[in-house]
């Protein structure tokens, strides 16, 4: 598929259907973008497993950090790659091995060889996007920061049941 742009339907479908994310390259430093994204996704009801070999078995925002993709005791839906593009191929091979459904490379990360491999194995691929920005964009939250969501809708936005300043992509259960 074309990875220069993605339809909103494609991205929304991935974020609505899946809950368990393994974040490879999650940093325990609060100034790093990966820390922001981890914290944001946890507050939006995602189950996020931080993966970082340098910090294995420590705890990050209440979650145990794992050293590598492997047996987490539950199936992984999305592998979110917070590493440089040249590291994405090996991580994608691991994602295929653990039967993940989606390989997601962060904003600024693109590896077409890894994408082709993942797609050949039946996985969905997103590259050069941030799940926090995409969630914020499709839920309308990002508009609070004056950001152009490129979404027009005459429907009332859905509130997340955890507070008035959090929105949802699907109705609360």
């Amino acid at each position: 598929m074309n990875h220069d742009s993605y339809s909103d339907v494609y991205i929304r479908d991935i974020l609505v259907r899946h809950r368990v994310i393994a974040m490879v390259g999650a940093s325990p430093k609060p100034s790093r973008p990966s820390y922001f994204v981890l914290k944001y996704l946890l507050a939006r009801d995602f189950d996020v497993v931080p993966v970082n070999p340098g910090h294995a078995r420590k705890e990050l925002l209440g979650q145990e950090i794992f050293g590598m993709l492997g047996d987490f005791g539950r199936p992984i839906d999305i592998v979110d790659i917070f590493r440089k593009a040249d590291a994405a191929l090996a991580i994608t091979q691991d994602a295929i091995a653990i039967r993940a459904t989606v390989v997601w490379m962060q904003l600024g990360v693109r590896n077409d060889e890894a994408a082709a491999l993942a797609e050949a194995a039946g996985l969905k691929v997103v590259m050069n996007r941030c799940p926090k920005i995409e969630y914020g964009r499709l839920s309308g939250e990002i508009g609070w920061a004056g950001v152009n969501s490129r979404v027009l809708s005459s429907k009332r936005p859905l509130l997340n049941n955890k507070g008035v300043q959090k929105r949802a992509l699907r109705p609360a259960n």
């Binding site: 944001y40 941030c130 609070w144 027009l152 936005p157 959090k166």
Partner: protein, 428 residues
């Protein structure tokens, strides 16, 4: 809307950024006339203050009415994000506060709104920011003004008051060569007439007070971040590319990607300098924008007819409207604003300074005041008002010499406007 469809400009002017209110279902964006917003819990408050999540804290920094205005402006300009402020001048101050350090320089066209010339040469000098002037009709003059200290280039798309159309793409090429962002003041053109980003603008600034608000009732300004400039490339913009001491060492350009400049302007410039727009003004301007395409077209159509009539009048020495056949900026107008050359133009009276005073004193429908971009038609003699503080040489260069009268053509019946000018000119 369906996925592959790109909504048109008229649709964006009405819908961009404005879903129904989530708690009441109100279809029109409400006026959130409140200073502050409750936090969901302590963790949410901390996350907001750390910029880890999107949300509202305090109306000096953000407000939901203002946010709809911002997203709409970003959408209309094709940009990544926008920030609304108390005025166009506030927007300019915040842009340069974000880009410049004391001792830095920027290059600006000398064909600018007189208020901007004052701000750049007088107020900014107190911050240690040095403006170097160039000629907007000559891209080479910008190239010649570039020094190692240059941090930005600033032009108006349609220059006020002279009716000059800037070759944005040519000056953008100079900015790219110098590795600095091009800032375009798109106030007179509005995104309806000129899509400045498509021609190479990196940052677009607006006085919302003019055609965007359009009804002469609210002061406001805005910064649009086109998302096109790489702030990390040179290390010359430390506010964006270096760890930020205000926010626990995060690097704004790294954390916020293509809308980092708009975020920096909000969470540093606006937060610390304080020129917030009121929610009520944001609401009025937002309402104005819904009819922008219809109004701008009428402004342009009326202006062309008045300009043609004045061109044939025996007391008029010249008319500078880029929409007129034979005008020196006609070719640039066809490229940069093909739907019309705007609603503001100047003309010269054969009778000079005294004739200008007589004309503004005798009109009955045109209002003698300093604004532009109102539903009402407006008239001013710049030499005795808006450009009064400038030297004679500066006034001439800005297109505001002693014989010059500026009109901002409104939405009235054009025959009534011509009749008013006719009776007033008879008394000159």
């Amino acid at each position: 809307m369906s996925e592959e469809r790109q909504p048109g400009f008229n649709t964006l002017a009405i819908h961009a950024g404005a879903q129904p209110d989530p708690s009441t279902g109100a279809r029109v964006t409400p006026i959130y006339q409140t200073t502050s917003f409750v936090f969901d819990d302590v963790d949410h408050a901390a996350a907001l203050f750390n910029l880890e999540t999107f949300g509202n804290i305090y109306t000096r920094i953000m407000n939901p009415t203002q946010a709809v205005l911002e997203e709409r402006l970003a959408a209309l300009e094709g940009g990544a994000a926008a920030l609304a402020l108390a005025s166009g001048h506030a927007a300019q101050a915040v842009i340069f506060h974000t880009l410049l350090e004391p001792g830095d320089e920027f290059i600006a066209a000398h064909q600018l709104y007189g208020g901007s010339m004052n701000q750049f040469s007088q107020a900014f000098a107190k911050f240690g920011w040095q403006v170097r002037w160039a000629d907007t009709t000559d891209a080479e003059s910008f190239r010649a003004a570039v020094t190692p200290k240059t941090k930005a280039i600033f032009v108006e798309s349609i220059a006020n008051p002279g009716g000059i159309i800037t070759d944005i793409a040519a000056i953008s090429a100079v900015a790219k060569e110098a590795g600095v962002p091009l800032i375009v003041d798109n106030t007179l053109a509005t995104p309806y007439l000129t899509q400045a980003k498509e021609h190479g603008a990196d940052i677009i600034v607006h006085s919302l007070t003019k055609f965007l608000g359009g009804h002469g009732n609210s002061i406001g300004g805005a910064i649009v971040d086109c998302g096109t400039f790489d702030w990390m490339a040179s290390g010359r913009y430390p506010t964006l590319s270096a760890p930020c001491p205000s926010y626990h060492g995060i690097t704004l350009a790294e954390t916020f990607g293509d809308f980092a400049f708009a975020i920096a302007c909000r969470v540093l410039g606006l937060r610390d300098l304080g020129p917030a727009i009121s929610p009520f003004n944001a609401f009025l301007i937002l309402t104005g924008i819904e009819t922008l395409p219809l109004r701008m077209q009428r402004h342009c159509d009326n202006a062309l007819q008045v300009a043609e009539w004045l061109s044939a009048h025996d007391k008029i020495a010249w008319v500078n409207y880029a929409g007129l056949p034979g005008n020196e900026f006609r070719a640039l107008a066809e490229r940069y604003c093909p739907k019309g050359a705007g609603g503001v133009f100047t003309f010269g009276l054969k009778g000079g300074y005294d004739a200008g005073i007589a004309l503004v004193s005798n009109v009955e429908l045109f209002s003698h005041l300093a604004n532009i971009g109102d539903t009402r038609s407006l008239i001013i003699h710049p030499a005795s008002t808006t450009h009064r503080q400038l030297s004679d040489e500066q006034r001439e260069r800005a297109g505001a010499g002693s014989d010059v009268v500026r009109l901002s053509i409104g939405l009235e019946d054009v025959d009534d406007l011509i009749a008013d000018l006719d009776q007033a000119l008879a008394k000159v």
